[in-house]
Amino acid sequence: MELALYSLPFLWQGTLITLAVAALVAVFSLVLGVLLGTLACFGLSPFRWTIRIYCDLIRGIPAVVLIFMVYYGLPVLLSFPINNFLAAVVALTVFTTGQVTEIARGAIQSIHFGQAEAGKAIGLGFWSRMIYVIFPQAVRRFLPPWVNNLTDVVKGSALVSLVGIVDLMLAIQQVIGRVYEPMPLYIVGSILYFLINYGLSSASQRLEGHFAYIRE
C-alpha cells in the first residue's frame, strides 16, 4: 500500500510522457507517411525511388539503432547537441514513417484506377481527387494496419527510456531503484501498457465500424 502510494505519482508522470511521445510520433508519422505514400503512388520516378529506398532501409534497421544513431550520431555530425526528447521523437518518427508510408501506399493502390479517372473526367485537380475521391475510400484499407502500427508505436516508445527520457518504462526502473521491489512494479507497468494499447485497439474498432458503409 505504501509502495503504491509512493510510486503512483512517478508512474503517472511516466505514463503521460509515454503518451506524449507516442502521440507526437503517431501524428508526425501519419502526416508524413500519407504524404510519402501518395507520392510513392503518383510522384515522379525519382521521388518514387527515393521513397522506396527509404522504406526498404527502415525495414532492415532496428528502432534502437536508429534512436542511438540520431541521439549520439547527429550531434557529432552537426557538432551541436540535440535534446534527447527531440532526438527520440525524430528517430521514432523516421522509423514509423517508413511503415505508415507502406500502409498508405497499399491502401491507395487498392483503389481502382478508374476512380481517379472518374475524378479527372469531372475536372477535379490532383489534390481534390485525393481528398474527395481516393482518401475517403482508402481509409477503410488503411485503418486496420495503421492501428496495429499505433500499438507498435506505444510499445516502441519504451525505447526512449534508453536515452534518458523518463517515460513509463524509465519511471518504473527509477522507482525500482529506490524501493527494490522489481516484480510488483514490472507487473503494474505491463498492465498499464496493456491498458493503453487495449484501449487504442478497442477505440479503433469503433472507428472502423464507422467506415463500414463504403462498399465497392
Binding site: 534508453l162 518504473i172 522489481p182
Partner: protein, 221 residues
Amino acid sequence: MTYHINYNFVWQYFDKFYWGLLLSIELAVISILIGSIIGFGLALIYVDGPRWIRRLIAAYVEFFRNQPLLLLVYLVFYGVPSVGGFKYSPTVSFIITLSVYSSAYLVEIFRSGLDAVPRGLLDAGKAIGLSPWQRLLHVRLPTMLRVTLPALGNQFVSLFKDTSIAFVIAVPELTYAAKWITTNKFRIFEAYSVAAPMYLVACYAMFAIFALLERRFAARR
C-alpha cells in the same frame, strides 16, 4: 570542435561486431524456434479446442502482443529471479523472453494458416487411412506453411531486429558491440555506420531466404 571520422577502433574491435552479429542471429533463431513450437502448439489447441481454451489463448496473445519487449526483458531478467530466488545468465533470460514474446505473434500466424487448410483435405487424409499424427505432418503442416510463409518471413525479420535490445541486460550482441565502441572509444558515428548496414544485410538475407522458400512452395502447387 570538428569531428574527424576515424574507423581505426571499429576495425580494431571488429571481432566484437562480427561475434555480435552472430550472437544476434543465434538469439533470433533459437527464440523463434522455441516460439514456433509454443506458437504452433497453442494454435493447434486453439483450432480444435473448447471455448474456454480459446479464450485463454486469445488472452495470452493479446497480453504479450501489447507489451513493450523492453519491459518483458527487464521483467524476466530482474523481476522473475527476485521472486523465485534463482539466477540465470542474461543470454538464457533473453532467449526465454523473446521465445514467449514471439510465440504470441506466431500463434496468430499459425492459427490463420490452419484456418486456411480446407476441411476436405483433412477428410481426404482420413479417407486414405492416415493417423492423426500423419495427417498433421503430411497434410496440415505443409498446406499451412505455404499460406503462412510471407507473414512468417516478415515476423522472423522483425524478431531478429528485436534482438537489438538484448544489450540492456549486457548480452553481447551486435548493438552491444556498437554501444561498447561508443562508450569506450567514443567513435559513435563509425560504430553505428557499421552496425546498421550489418543489420540491414542480415535482414535482407532473411527476406531473400523466405522469398526462395516461397518460390519453392509455389512451384509445387
